[in-house]
Amino acid sequence: MARPSLVSGAVIDGFTIGERVHRGGMATLWSVTRPDIATPLLMKIPLISEGEDPAAIVSFEMEQMILPRLSGPHVPACFGTGDFARQPYVVIERIPGQTLYSRLGELPLGFEEVREIGGKVAAALADLHRQNVIHHDIKPSSVMFRGSGEAVLIDFGLSHHNQLPDLLQEEFRLPFGTAPYTAPERLLGLRDDPRSDLFSLGVLLYFFTTGVRPFGESESMYGMRRRLWRDPHPPRQLRADYPPWLQEIVLRCLEIEPVWRYPTASQLAFELAHPDQVKLTARSERIKRDPLGTVLRRRFNSGLTQPRAKSDLAAQLASGPIVAVALDIGEAPGALNEALRVTAERILATLPAARLACLNVLKLGRITIDRTLDEAGNNKHIERLVALKHWASQLKLDDGRLSVHVLEAVDPASAILEFATANQVDHIVIGARQNSRLRTLLGSVSAKVAAEAACSVTVVRPPRPARLQEPEPAEDEPDEVKA
């Protein structure tokens, strides 16, 4: 069958070709329209003429398989694909604006701006990983932003889908991608670890805050392999005013072994959202690279180069959830808080990569002007933080897995729900107050949280004391469901 010619005005499967927008190494991009679709569209057509890199074909096949399955604000919507049998293409939503590549002339950027960018990209990665996809080519030119602020990841030609054949697995000897951003394990042929994307994001954060690429620009195999044993200069060595919390985050992303990085993109986003809660370790203080002895030990330690068992993306994400426990500090809720502690303990013991956010809501009056000080002149906010930390101290958690938050709000349930959404919380643990006249009057906080949360909610009650059996009601009444 003859291929339709690619010129402005041609029509492929109902899409009218407009102008050519971009010609890259592997594909050309055309603006297209279709009468029934209002969204601005791009058609991506792989370069497959004689002498072209076969990589272009395989990358295109991966995009063709992956793009139609992705959804949500962090990816371009897909409107159609065409096969190699006729004219290969994918049609995707055209995201207005520039990629982060356009900012390269302004580097280094301010710490606060990079923190925001990093948080948005980490949130986008979390949503991509949740959809079983590892991007494998995170770099400035793969990141765009919607008008509403969300990061949009583009270019899935090197991606890995955990539930689809990986057509790139044995296709090329060299691990392929963008050399400065490639994670060390990729050089060993590993393509199934989502933490490879966290490494690439770490490179981007380092580069954007210092103006220097942590592992240089070498594209030779040896130049790339150095990152398997050679750590980058700590950012503080390059910028004396570099905040320790940011160095902690960036160097943790750039750890050689994936297990030393953040367990999930959500946990990285959480740290970027709460810089005051980042646990500072020796990483944050480093002003020099590791001594030569350490480097040599890594260089000749075969542990890093051993083949490993295939990891299951979904299982890995599930093992590192963000758990939020909502505590009542006020009116003598001793037994309930004890029951919450037991529940939290069980979850954390089962999932060593989980992190715990302890929440308390400082209720504001609807009409009255609130004072931060109580009658005795103590700061209520700080008192609550102290109480939360005391409750959590019995869990004996590493600080890196724990954070405490006092939310000030008129409506406690809404405050907890907002926190859960903003921080990609996977599981809320909350106590149900028993026999409270207030609950019957105002409605239950736990019931509202359980009904409206986008994640799992566990409602905890203290052990029930024995009670005298009440006489059976005369007629069967439907059980009332209470939380």
């Binding site: 074909i57 049998a85 290969p88 689809l164 054949p165 057509l167 296709e171």
Partner: protein, 252 residues
């Protein structure tokens, strides 16, 4: 039935006289809108209901299903097949249970069938009568290079797998995830190894079959829980080797 109307294929391999598993799979396939049934061999052997299994397949074929012969079906008619002792014991027992009509039906089944750009065969298509396993990318390559088919469907190894070959003859291998459709892209050739209906050996005791959508060119591997205990009891009650019953609940 006109070829254009057949969109949803339901494919079954290695039924092995497991009535409970095959019935459960057929129910699921029908509820998913199967237009045509394809049987990839080994209807008997191992399991306790060979007469029922062969009758069922004969009925399906009468109704338009396609079926090829497997090595256990072949062994009913020829004593020459080399098998392990337990498989051999099951074959001897099965042979005595089947009628002449049933035995003739099995013996006359083709070794392979071509359907549009698809090939149905029990094992390695490069020499179907040798019953070689397809258990690696190189086995898959040998089978694919020997045929002109765009997609080959086979069974025999009782472990699901999906192989592809690019236009540059590079191979990929993949263990499919249940219920996730995979589009078999037109730019490459594919070999789908089905899991077993009646005796899964991939650690998952649920029966395995596949649906193929000929329009979307997408394959979906399906796992179906069934009454394993009843199937195991049929094996024990018929005095067949106990291991054949014991392996069903673990899928090993």
């Amino acid at each position: 039935m006109a070829a254009e109307e057949v969109v949803q294929l339901a494919l079954f391999a290695d039924i092995h006289a497991n009535r409970q598993a095959f019935s459960a799979c057929l129910d699921v396939a029908r509820s998913r809108g199967a237009d045509r049934i394809i049987c990839l061999g080994d209807y008997v052997g191992y399991g306790g209901d060979p007469e029922w299994a062969v009758d069922m397949v004969m009925g399906l074929v009468e109704g338009g299903a396609l079926a090829v012969r497997g090595n256990h079906d072949n062994a009913i008619g020829t004593a020459a097949e080399s098998m392990n002792a337990q498989a051999q014991a099951a074959i001897e027992w099965t042979r005595g249970r089947l009628s002449a009509t049933q035995r003739r039906f099995l013996a006359e089944l083709p070794l392979e069938l071509q359907d549009d750009d698809r090939l149905y065969v029990h094992s390695d298509a490069s020499n179907p009568a040798k019953w070689r396993y397809v258990q690696s990318a190189s086995d898959a390559a040998r089978s694919m290079l020997a045929t002109a088919a765009n997609v080959t469907f086979c069974g025999h190894i009782h472990q699901p797998a999906l192989y592809s070959m690019s236009s540059a003859a590079k191979m990929t291998s993949f263990v499919p995830t249940a219920d996730v459709p995979v589009q078999l892209l037109g730019g490459r050739r594919w070999l789908a190894v089905l899991g077993s209906v009646g005796q899964p050996r991939d650690g998952n005791p649920a029966a395995c079959f596949a649906m193929f959508d000929t329009e979307a060119r997408a394959i979906t591997y399906c796992r179906v829980p069934y009454d394993v205990e009843a199937a195991a009891a049929r094996i024990r009650d018929n005095g067949l080797p106990r291991w054949l019953a014991d392996r069903l609940p673990t899928g090993r």
